[in-house]
Symmetry: C2
Amino acid sequence: MPAPALIALDWGTSNLRASLLDAGGSDIETRSAPGGVMAVQGGRFAEALLALCGDWILRFDCPLIASGMVGSRQGWKEAPYLACPAGLAEAARQLTTVTIDAATGRQLHIAPGLQCTDPAGLFDVMRGEETQIWGARLPDGTTCVLPGTHSKWAWLGGAGVIRTFRTFMTGELFGLLTQHGILGRLMVFGRHRPEDFVAGVRLGLQGHAALSHTVFAARTAGLMGRVAPEGLPDYLSGILIGGEIGAAAASLEASQRAAGVVLIGDDDLCQRYALALEVHGIASRRAPAGTTTSGQWRIAGAGGLVAST
Amino acid sequence: MPAPALIALDWGTSNLRASLLDAGGSDIETRSAPGGVMAVQGGRFAEALLALCGDWILRFDCPLIASGMVGSRQGWKEAPYLACPAGLAEAARQLTTVTIDAATGRQLHIAPGLQCTDPAGLFDVMRGEETQIWGARLPDGTTCVLPGTHSKWAWLGGAGVIRTFRTFMTGELFGLLTQHGILGRLMVFGRHRPEDFVAGVRLGLQGHAALSHTVFAARTAGLMGRVAPEGLPDYLSGILIGGEIGAAAASLEASQRAAGVVLIGDDDLCQRYALALEVHGIASRRAPAGTTTSGQWRIAGAGGLVAST
């Protein structure tokens, strides 16, 4: 086994993933547990960490770094937001440190989240996605899209600097409307119906300026028999993703639009977004997988925790 | 007691309200029960009705009329949607009849809901609100707004005809986001903070074209300490109502905008909407209360069930 150089933790709301990295930043071993921030009771973050990879911490005298909601107010310790524009160097200078074990003094470094302010003075925040973006090593000026519960659109400057970004609550709205709302009552889940998804995307693109009206189409199309119950989940998904793309694309400059976007995230969601972007005439390409670990490696390098590669 | 002329039922998703009306259409007595369509098990609608006002039905040989979700697919019997433009005469010609009691043959007439199609071919539906609108006896050309779980904007032609309308899921979104979503986690409920409501309205008006982004401000404003936890519910309410008004007002002609709108609904919601409309420079006035019963009386009159007044 190569000598371990870093323990990197992707510690989000629902899951805790740990990677043991070698001196080249490659995975030696990875582990995960459902010990996300919301699952940790009474502030017992150290216990959750030791349960997953206490053996690594004992055996290997290497630094530990974490990113994600573990640095939020509900997490282990609040890692203050770093204001955009911000790059790897700024993030590395603003690591927040917690002591894992008082006896040994062993520490965990938590990467900051990012904040930005739009021209109207509106705040936005991200925590974890910045690490994925840095891990993707994208060209200057890239527009990147990270689909998810809270989908993020981020705009890069030069040298990996994140200039600004915008959050869309697309995934959360889909979950709320289908699981707890009236739209879900007409739906049959579990099938993928691409043609209904595309019809929804077209509607969302066209109707994003009245989204709380447009989503009601996922009820009326069902009532009127225009979309089958099995197609309604994809139809609503299309409306919401189309609505997000319509709104976000409206602020793209012509050159950004022509350059297309980079998608970072899981396969199913990225495929949906790629299709929806295509409907709107925007090209997309996928970032390689594993960008979180790669981003943590780069932050640790910029902060002198590991020798940069 | 004046001679009863009509039993009018406002039978919605959550509640069943019954009014006994005299020959002038005035209330003799009203009753209500939580026996809404969703609370009736196994299709026992007749039982729910008899439990609330079986004595009226037995004692008074007068017709019965109902409007609302009782005519939906989940209701007693589906009363097919009437296509807009539609007025009282068309509604009266399309009453759906159910037999309450096979032995006596006593019947209940259910008013149809309305459907319309927007220029893009998108359907919309309402069930119950059309009766409130007709009950308000509004001037030709009125724009009316019925705030609620599914807020409705309706445009009248001449002679009480409803030309077209649009649904906004504003109230449902507020409920879902605050009760089941992440935005509710930072909120303290129970206080009214008008200044936070107005700040939200301004944001919603300005950001309605990216609503799934704009609502995220109800999280970031809390995280950044710009809005107190006690103000966040009103801030989100303002964003959603402002977003609705921004989207709906964009399609108003100058003359409609100048004429203002009529608000129909409960006091608290109508006051919120009046304030939000004022922020957008749109005047509003309230319709008198009790418009559902008045509308049912007018439909019954147009259908020859009672002598018109």
